[in-house]
Symmetry: C2
Subunit: 154 residues, 2 copies
């Protein structure tokens, strides 16, 4: 198994995994769009950013199978945040049957190398509060919660 | 005491309260900029948005004293969110010595009327996880946590 940068030919497979991830969230809370609903916009967003210096897609590949993927970005944070640039872990997904083998961790470690090479000192991510799998994994990687996003449905 | 829309002449007082709020966060975590550091950008942002249809500043005023203020916006949410527009409670601040008199609640209720008149069905806000005063107040208003923002400092 190796962690490598995605090529254009991997995009369809990444879109498929992103749909699975969207459906997972949509089942938790239909405030989120379903996989089918996000597909078009996600593809457009990927194609617009593919190959840019502050955007990176990694895939975990074994033989010819893609087992998971991640997307990370280097961004300007909100204006009230001190650092001038931060790393952002935008997506991290491992297909269900390949979980619990440390694949997510290996993808993250590769992003960490990238962030360090770009002199990033702070990494952020957002996770649904009911996604206990995600929260536990991110805590193990060394993340801590620092903000809550709250919502009211009228 | 009355809750009214801010006028241009109130901006300096709002900037002063915003600096107090920034300093509160900066003392919790110096990942946030201090009051002095955010002042200039905040003023620019206020002046750019003042009077716009999707932007509203309310103040709580008694005689000639401003006791607190709030800023709310109507926005397009992130692309993976179902509703086409959401309400956003961007700032809500009551000066320390006027707290525990329901002033924040009255400001929020006025925003709620505005959101309803604009057919908003969902309101979001972000709050620091260590700001227990804010979290408790927002829960009382009817907000629930649905996402966590996590961070790693390298």
């Amino acid at each position: 198994m190796k962690i490598i940068e995605a090529k254009k030919k991997d995009i369809n497979c990444i879109i498929k995994m992103n749909k699975e991830m969207a459906d997972y969230h949509w089942k938790i809370d239909n405030y989120y769009k379903s996989g089918r609903e996000i597909e078009f916009g996600f593809k457009k967003w990927i194609l617009k950013n593919f190959g840019k210096r502050n955007f990176k897609i990694l895939i975990a590949k074994e033989k010819n199978k893609i087992l998971g993927y991640g997307i990370a970005e280097i961004k300007k944070p909100k204006p009230y945040i001190r650092p001038k640039k931060i790393g952002h872990l935008t997506n991290l997904y491992v297909k269900e049957k390949y979980r619990r083998h440390g694949i997510g961790r290996q993808i993250f470690d590769k992003f960490l190398e990238w962030f360090k090479s770009r002199e990033i000192k702070h990494i952020e991510l957002s996770v649904d509060s009911r996604n206990q799998i995600g929260i536990s994994a991110y805590q193990k990687y060394g993340f801590f919660e620092y903000q809550k996003k709250m919502r009211m449905d009228l």
